[in-house]
């Protein structure tokens, strides 16, 4: 019956393209909000099949799966294939919290030579490659909303934003794209 249900992507059909940048919605993905003390990192890394990063701005990526460091005991784990990430953690015995947030967030992909400039219209964080290199991620703000920002390439960023804030975030990025 699940197949019969239409999944409504909140940013479906949105797109902003200029010479310097492309802003498009990301595909649906599974997402896990993972909280765990140091003692749980090893077991959870094993269960998820990738080493949870331990440093600020750190990320780990393996194939279609990635873990973004958000705090000393907090990660956002993404899987592009839609794997049940919470299920993977279910067998881990050390205390932790694995909560499925696949539908809480929406991804916006910002790419092109002007991507950094476009994000700088609303993100106060220093995004220069020396400070925020490829692979860096952080929880930050874009205009008036909170986002998780992940630099996936020299000129490519993934913005993770809560579902109902995604219209604002996308609109701001599209406006900023006109000025880049």
């Amino acid at each position: 019956m699940a197949d019969a249900l239409v999944r409504a992507d909140v940013l479906a059909g949105r797109r902003a393209e200029t010479a310097g940048v492309s802003v498009v919605p990301g595909a649906p993905a599974s997402r896990l909000s993972l909280r765990a003390p140091q003692a749980g990192i090893a077991a959870l890394s094993k269960a998820l099949g990738l080493a949870l990063p331990k440093k600020p701005k750190g990320t780990a990526q393996d194939g279609t799966r990635a873990a973004l460091w958000l705090g000393p005991d907090e990660w956002l784990v993404l899987d592009a294939e839609g794997v049940d990430l919470a299920g993977l953690c279910a067998s881990v015995r050390t205390a932790h919290s694995a909560v499925d947030v696949s539908h809480r967030n929406v991804a916006i992909l910002v790419s092109g030579p002007a991507a950094e400039t476009v994000l700088a219209a609303g993100c106060p964080q220093d995004l220069a490659p020396a400070v925020f290199p490829v692979g860096a991620a952080s929880r930050t703000v874009l205009g008036k909303v909170e986002i998780v920002l992940w630099r996936t390439g020299a000129d490519a960023f993934r913005v993770e934003v809560w579902r109902s804030f995604s219209d604002y975030a996308f609109t701001l990025l599209a406006e900023a794209a006109r000025d880049a």
Partner: protein
């Protein structure tokens, strides 16, 4: 056609590049590169405005951002009309259309100038003293008339059609000002590889090199060096050069805000391009190279058109090729004006005389002037001027006494010396100190990681300024981790050095009965006004400023503050530093609201949050209400229904059949971990340890003070996992509140909090038919009352997608809340709707939700509570775990005031006339037969028409309310008092059986 005052061969503009413009409807020709001011002067136009208070004819004082007089309105079209544009900074473009301000019927003949004749009336503090009474006259008479007569410019009356952009930037070194010092500092910093931003308010870099004619830097003429250096910097990857960009605010931790003007100089701006861009720059080090601002001389009638700053006249000549007059007088107290006189003389213009305020000026400049055949009147003062719409003569007298003589002039250049531009330094919270020798306030104690270089630091010699700027640039880059490089050397030479200067009034002619010696041109403040303020008891410069309004116009006293201070100090007979300097505040020059707002307008003013079913509700014709940032369906009117009819129908349908409601905006927090139940015990008043998985409980959260903070239904999914719901408005703050306690008070607990508000779309199905509607859509959950009683939760599948199904009720009816992943929310809603239609269900909105819960006496936190209501006040004492020894607020609840008798308690109210619906917020009294102000004993918190009860219902907080059950109280309203009976809070199904059945 060459304008009359454009001098062939002078200046840097290209004669072939003509730009036509109009001023007050007359057409003129200017050149590309002109400012509006230079183009007007080239056409011999000096009269450009009328003054603020006295409507005196005013001309162009300066050639820069400090301009107090030449304020005009520039309109591109009806919506793009900008008042108070300084003609001295507005770049000319072909088709520019400017009009003068503050005059009627015309600039040359202004009726308002009568106030100039009546001037003795309008002394300092005139408004404060005169328009005191009667009070009513303020709004009807005084204020409208004062506003009509005063004020500059007309505010635009249409929405701003332009776009504005914003950008955050980070750099190691921010250099403010691209004069010789700023360029040198940027050059030294840039060559270390560090990120450098260089901004300058002008279209072209160069600063004072624009007018200083005898400068050579690095073997090149100063101006050329500046252009080439800026171009070289702009070509470097690590440098951003921002022309037409004003650093207007210096905030904490080296955050400097810049306003970049992108299209203001263009004849046909690209409508796609933003008009202005706000830069918020976080800099490792800031180098201030903001230069100095020339002061005028203060003497009687020093404001006639044609009287201007000496360096301004030099700019107009050396840069724009414009003669400000053909027979020019000079009144100065410093050497820089001599350089202006010499430049003008060399260009073939007549210098009538240099009147030098100083008794015995000497030095190279003075000798050069004399050698050039210019008459130098040392120890003299200009005591007055003549000319109606333009200066025609100056009256000159020896300061020591003696006969005055009149000298014909068509322009008069004045210079009292240079005031270092310490505005940004002061904004950075740096402290200035008064240098008695040079009579200047200079940067003294730095509060942030910044350095001042050049004229704004008081450095007089160009070579010294360049050297210290190079050193500062190199140091700033080094301190922020740049490569160690030897600072470059730059040889800078100039033919002139400036010294001298004075503060205050030049001579006592300023004090003559009818004399007006202006200190502040923009606010029409004279030397006499400042003296009067002191005589009337103002002692601090802050008081003098506010009493006289000196320095309070949009130019913020760039030319007037030091004079005003000196006059006050002299009148008080105290040294200048003791009288004090007023505080510099952002913005340095006016900034448009558009720039500050940036992208944040229209759709981007604030996020608008919509649920998954928003589009469906919209298509059904729902009316929405704003709940915080959310748009929520308020009610679903059918054809011919008004709100009341729609809500009444929805209310009846829910209780007779069923209703479907989008409850997605409720806050949802997943509390997970082995200590989850212990944490819940601490955060809520209720007991949680013994709540079985699969069961729900209504929870109340208190603040430390014992008052209700939030409430919601909480389901236990597993021993270590709770699904907490919060109020819609409380979602963010409740999570913060919990996280705050977890991190600071209970850090040992192994529990974590995750917001899942947006993970789940929530579809409430309420009413007797709710089970019949939900049942066909559910897989693997037994919905029977025995298997899934009221207040339980199950995980399973609804429409084939993972779901959390709650059996809960905020209506008092049997009810379910279906939680499904948000992207499936719409599809599941549509499936529920299809089932609902088979069973007579309707969609309902927040208004019906409010009515139905009020019929059952369920509170809404924030409506029936206001931050001073305890659980017992709200009739929820049962929700406090009696055996609990600790939870947030437990000690607060024991405070004497919170257990005292007579507290306001939540009760129901029935109006004597069932048709009367009370107003929410209305006050309640025991009897209306008492004098006003009556003793108020409570107020109405919720009030509705209840179709199900066929009468009005209301909830109220009333003193000692529960003990008053059955009493008649009164609600006084403008139309008369309304009698109400105090009742319990439940208006329907007192036993509560419907939710279980």
């Amino acid at each position: 056609m060459t304008a009359a005052f454009r001098i062939a061969g002078a200046g840097r503009l290209t004669p072939a590049h003509e730009a036509r413009f109009t001023f007050d409807g007359r057409s003129y020709a200017g050149l590309a590169g002109d400012t509006l001011a230079s183009a007007l002067l080239a056409n011999g136009v000096h009269l450009v405005g009328r003054s603020f208070k006295y409507h005196r004819p005013r001309g162009i004082l300066s050639a820069g951002a400090e301009e107090p007089n030449a304020l005009v309105e520039i309109a591109r079209d009806g919506a793009r009309r900008t008042p108070n544009v300084r003609a001295t900074v507005q770049e000319l473009y072909d088709g520019l259309c400017a009009v003068s301000q503050n005059r009627w019927p015309s600039l040359a003949f202004d009726v308002g100038a009568a106030s100039d004749v009546a001037a003795p009336m309008f002394s300092a503090g005139f408004y404060y003293k005169t328009f005191m009474w009667p009070k009513a006259a303020w709004t009807r008479l005084y204020e409208p008339n004062i506003r009509q007569a005063a004020g500059l410019g007309r505010a635009p009356d249409q929405p701003d059609p332009d776009r504005y952009a914003s950008r955050f930037a980070h750099c190691a070194v921010l250099v403010v000002g691209a004069g010789a010092a700023g360029l040198a500092a940027a050059l030294a910093a840039a060559q270390t590889g560090q990120r450098v931003i260089l901004c300058d308010e002008q279209a072209e870099p160069g600063g004072a090199l624009r007018f200083e004619s005898g400068v050579t830097i690095d073997g090149r003429p100063g101006w050329r060096w500046a252009q080439e250096t800026a171009a070289a910097l702009a070509a470097m990857d690590n440098v951003t050069v921002l022309p037409r960009t004003t650093a207007f605010g210096y905030y904490a931790q080296n955050m400097v805000c810049l306003a970049e003007r992108l299209t203001e100089h263009l004849a046909a701006p690209d409508p796609e391009a933003p008009r202005e861009r706000l830069w918020q720059v976080r800099a490792g080090r800031v180098i201030l190279a903001t230069g100095a601002i020339e002061r005028h001389m203060v003497f009687a009638d020093n404001d006639r058109p044609g009287i201007m700053l000496a360096a301004a006249a030099r700019s107009y000549l050396n840069h724009f090729g414009v003669a400000v007059g053909r027979n020019v007088g000079v009144y100065a107290a410093d050497d820089s004006a001599y350089a202006a006189a010499l430049d003008l003389k060399r260009a073939g213009l007549g210098i009538a005389a240099i009147v030098d305020w100083r008794a015995a000026p000497e030095g190279a400049a003075v000798e050069a002037a004399r050698a050039a055949g210019i008459e130098v009147l040392a120890g003299h003062a200009v005591t007055g001027t003549a000319g109606r719409l333009r200066v025609s003569a100056m009256t000159v007298a020896p300061r020591a006494g003696g006969a005055a003589r009149s000298i014909a002039v068509d322009a008069l250049l004045t210079s009292a010396g240079w005031t270092p531009a310490v505005h940004l330094f002061s904004q950075s919270r740096g402290r200035v100190g008064f240098d008695a020798a040079s009579q200047r306030f200079l940067p003294q104690t730095y509060a942030q990681a910044c350095a001042s270089v050049g004229a704004c630091k008081g450095t007089e010699r160009l070579s010294d300024a360049v050297d210290e700027a190079l050193a500062a640039g190199a140091a700033a880059a080094r301190e922020t981790g740049g490569r160690r490089r030897k600072a470059p050397r730059l040889d800078a030479e100039t033919t002139e050095t400036w010294s001298g200067g004075m503060l205050g009034v030049g001579d006592e002619s300023a004090a003559a009965p009818r004399a007006k010696a202006f200190v502040d041109f923009q606010n029409d403040v004279t030397a006499k006004d400042i003296r009067l303020a002191v005589r009337e008891g103002m002692r601090s410069i802050e008081h003098v400023k506010r009493f006289t309004t000196n320095g309070m116009a949009t130019d913020q006293g760039k030319t007037s503050n030091m004079h005003g201070l000196a006059i006050a100090a002299e009148t008080l007979d105290r040294p200048i530093p003791e009288v004090g300097l007023t505080t510099f505040r952002p913005p340095y020059t006016p900034v448009t609201f558009g720039t500050l707002v940036g992208h944040g307008r229209g759709r981007l003013f604030d996020p608008v949050r919509r649920t998954a079913t928003h589009g469906w509700a919209e298509a059904q014709g729902a009316v929405f209400e704003d709940v915080g940032q959310w748009k929520r369906a308020w009610y679903f009117p059918r054809a011919g229904e008004d709100m009341q009819a729609a809500v009444a129908r929805e209310c009846r349908t829910v209780r007779r059949a069923a209703g479907i409601f989008d409850a997605s905006t409720l806050g949802k927090i997943e509390v997970v971990g082995p200590d989850a139940a212990r944490f819940m015990e601490l955060m809520y008043t209720n007991p949680w340890q013994k709540l079985d998985p699969g069961r729900c409980r209504y929870g109340i959260m208190l603040r430390e003070d014992g008052f209700i903070y939030d409430d919601g239904v909480i389901g236990r999914l597993a021993p270590d996992r709770f699904h907490v719901t919060t109020t819609t408005g409380g979602a963010a703050r409740v999570l913060n509140h919990m996280e705050d306690y977890l991190q600071t008070e209970f850090p040992d607990l192994k529990v974590w909090l995750t917001s899942v508000s947006e993970q789940w779309a929530v579809i409430a199905v309420q009413g007797p038919n709710s089970r019949a509607i939900v049942e066909p859509l559910v897989d693997g959950i037994d919905l029977s009352d025995a298997a899934m009683p009221h207040m339980s939760v199950r995980e399973g599948r609804v429409c084939g997608v993972p779901a959390r199904l709650f059996r809960v009720s905020f209506t008092g009816e049997r009810g379910f809340e279906i939680n499904v992943p948000a992207d499936y929310g719409l599809a599941v809603w549509e499936a529920v709707w299809a089932e609902g239609e088979k069973h007579g269900a309707c969609a309902y909105g927040t208004e019906t939700m409010h009515v139905l819960r009020a019929e059952k006496g369920f509170i809404i936190v924030g409506q029936d509570t206001d931050g001073t209501v305890t659980p017992d006040d709200a009739g929820l004492g049962w929700a406090i775990g009696k055996k609990k020894t600790d939870f947030v607020g437990i000690r607060g609840l024991a405070r004497p005031d919170l257990v005292a008798a007579g507290r306001k308690q939540l009760v129901g109210l029935r109006t004597a006339d069932p048709k009367t619906v009370l107003e929410e917020g209305a006050q309640i009294v025991e009897t209306p037969d008492q004098p006003v102000p009556m003793r108020m004993i409570g107020h109405v918190t919720s009030s509705y028409w209840s179709a199900n009860c066929d009468r009005s219902i209301a909830l109220a907080l009333v003193e000692n309310g529960r003990a008053r059950s059955g009493q008649t109280l009164h609600v006084p309203m403008p139309g008369g008092s309304i009698a109400v009976e105090v009742t319990g809070t439940v208006f329907l199904d007192d036993e509560g059986g419907r939710a279980d059945g």
